[in-house]
């Protein structure tokens, strides 16, 4: 198991390099120049060259990349061009908010999604199943920013239960978590339901019934146990997605976070900040994938055998 984890970590290195190269290049290929933001209107070409030299923007691209990568690996994400602060400080300030929102949303969608999926699978093709799947369909098609606005209207403006925006205290977390989590709930519920129905039709379930086990025990300890293998994999893959996917929700609720930092930096062409944010999201996706693989091996002995 340890050897497996180690090998998977090693395999992530080339992926990380490729991702970092792409992130680095994309920003240099899109039009627009951050130096325009820094120099005063009517500044001379000399002043412009001086600023470009200060940020290393006058050197060839491959050199810029290697310098940047070397710094990143040492934890130095550079200095924000517009914000004029260490990028690592900006990211360190934003990341806890994103992790909090993403983590709570993931937890919320896991618990509610799995519970709804179980009920739908057990009451398959009867009204609870149809109600849950119908609700889930509506939930999954609603755009996050719109759902967020509706939740603000009902629970913050009309009922006044929660603050409209900001990130002060746990009450301000409720509506954003609901907004991000409901979309995930839909996915988790669907996957849980299908996986349970599929697992319930496997041969060994018949023998479990023949062994005289109570139905609830068969459903929870055997069928659900199997169904959770794909569900957990999908949840792990969503870790990165939820961190990055909360962008619009962070904007709607005016919450600090990686997403809103990224949007702001993009608008300002603040390369180092954009690069750092994208890199964080990419690393989150990679770690999520790794976690998914490890969890799958933990949950399924056949996968462990195949690894050896």
């Amino acid at each position: 198991m340890l050897a497996f984890t180690f090998r998977r970590l090693l395999a992530l290195i080339p992926v990380f390099l490729a991702v970092s190269l792409i992130i680095f290049l994309i920003l240099h290929l899109i039009p627009g120049d951050p130096v325009d933001n820094l120099i005063k209107i009517g500044a001379s070409a000399g002043q412009r060259a001086e600023i470009e030299a200060r940020y290393g923007l006058d050197r060839p691209l491959p050199v810029q990349y290697l310098v940047w990568l070397g710094n990143v690996l040492q934890g130095d994400l550079g200095t924000a061009i517009v914000g004029r602060r260490a990028v690592s400080a900006i990211v360190a300030q934003a990341l806890p908010y994103s992790l909090m929102l993403g983590g709570c949303a993931l937890l919320f969608s896991s618990i509610l999604g799995i519970a709804l999926g179980i009920v739908a699978a057990l009451k398959r093709d009867r009204w609870p199943d149809q109600a849950i799947m119908g609700g889930v369909l509506i939930g999954s098609t609603m755009p996050g920013f719109w759902l967020g606005l509706m939740l603000i209207l009902v629970f913050a403006v009309w009922l006044g239960w929660f603050p409209v925006s900001g990130a002060r205290g746990w009450t301000s977390l409720v509506l954003p978590v609901l907004t991000v989590g409901l979309g995930g709930t839909a996915l988790v519920a669907r996957v849980t339901r299908i996986a349970m129905i599929e697992a319930g039709q496997r041969d060994f379930v018949l023998l479990l019934h023949a062994k005289g086990l109570p139905v609830w025990r068969i459903q929870l300890f055997h069928v659900l146990r199997h169904a959770l293998i794909p569900v957990v994999t999908i949840l792990a893959l969503r870790i990165g997605w939820i961190l990055g996917g909360s962008v619009t929700v962070e904007v709607v609720f005016a919450r600090p976070g990686l997403g809103s930092t990224l949007i702001k930096a993009l608008a300002q062409h603040d390369y180092p900040v954009v690069q750092a944010c994208l890199l964080m999201l990419a690393v989150a996706v990679m770690l999520g994938t790794l976690l998914g693989d490890i969890l799958q091996a933990v949950m399924d002995p056949r996968v462990r055998t195949a690894l050896q």
Binding site: L207, H209, K211, G212, P214, M299, D300, R302
Partner: protein, 315 residues
């Protein structure tokens, strides 16, 4: 009688794969239920273990009586209490019969913990003893293994162990060796036969192999297209089969001295449940068919359901 099946008809959706099937089985007896694929053998196993609802099947006529009680009249919880504890099932394919993510030991232990109320330690001790009895080498190591780490023959021994663990009175074995290598088939059948005889249990052995019937069974019921064709003691039926279908099945057993390429089959195929012919369902394939065979259903009399039984047979 331990098990009495009387005039049993089973319906799944719009189709009725079993019609008027009847046989009985006593303690210490092995009854072979023989038939080709699609004759309704596995359905009979599900009916006897009360598992028909799992495949949306239901009993439309007749009874399955276990130890004098009609299974159809029992509520689901009482039926569940019988399963595993008093009726053990051995399924067809050991490759897929066990939960692939649970250790072997736990899957056998649960039987004695659930049905005999043993503690975890006592249940494990019993499991080890049982596995050793079933000639599984290194029982302790096997308990810690997962199903995919064992061979087919070993897995089927484990399935048999699960069926025996709670000291049932009846074992239903649905083609227990079909999925196994030919070399281990005979071992498994012999082992199952021995255990059942030693414990004095009833065994309903479902198979398509007359050779297996000859090896271990006391009596045999031949099923064709959802009806009983012939029923009686193994010795008598093998010596003097009355039904042409039984005769054909016996002729299909390869014997010593069977010349290569001369192995016989039965011409035609078992009709599907939607196209059962009128009258005797075997008549389109029967060499002895007469006009009456396609008109009326032969009743089961003197152990066979045939209008034109083979000569030399009783009755």
């Amino acid at each position: 009688m331990l098990l009495e099946v009387e005039n049993l008809s089973v319906t799944i959706g719009q189709i009725s794969p079993l019609e008027g099937v009847g046989f009985s089985l006593d303690r210490g007896e092995i009854l072979g239920l023989v038939g080709e694929s699609g004759s309704g053998k596995s359905l009979t196993a599900l009916a006897v273990t009360g598992l028909l609802p799992l495949i949306d099947g239901r009993v439309t006529a007749g009874h399955v009586r276990f130890a004098g009680r009609d299974l159809a009249a029992l509520p689901p919880c009482a039926l569940r209490a019988l399963r595993g504890k008093r009726i053990g099932l051995v399924t067809q394919n050991p490759m897929t019969a066990m939960d692939p993510v649970q250790r072997i030991g736990a899957q056998v232990d649960v039987m004695s913990r659930l049905h005999l109320g043993l503690s975890a330690a006592a249940a494990r001790a019993r499991t080890l003893e049982l596995l050793t009895r079933l000639r599984i080498p290194e029982a302790a190591a096997v308990c810690d293994a997962y199903p995919h780490q064992l061979s087919g023959g070993m897995k089927q021994r484990i399935v048999i162990a699960m069926a025996l663990a709670a000291e049932p009175e009846l074992i239903v074995a649905d083609e227990p060796t079909t999925a196994l290598d030919v070399t281990v088939q005979a071992q498994i059948i012999q082992l199952l036969g021995e255990e059942v005889k030693r414990r004095g249990l009833g065994l309903l052995l479902i198979t398509h192999d007359m050779g297996v019937v000859a090896q271990v069974c006391d009596r045999v019921a031949v099923l064709y297209a959802g009806r009983i064709a012939e029923l009686g003691p193994v010795g008598g039926i093998f010596a003097r089969p009355a039904h042409p279908y039984t005769r054909a099945l016996i002729d299909c057993i390869p014997r010593e001295g069977t010349a290569p390429g001369s192995l016989t089959g039965i011409p035609g195929a078992v009709p599907s449940v939607t196209t059962y012919p009128l009258g005797c369902r075997f008549h389109p394939r029967c060499p002895r068919a007469r006009p009456i065979c396609s008109a009326t259903v032969p009743p089961l009399l003197n152990g066979h359901a045939c209008h034109n039984p083979l000569e030399g047979a009783d009755g």
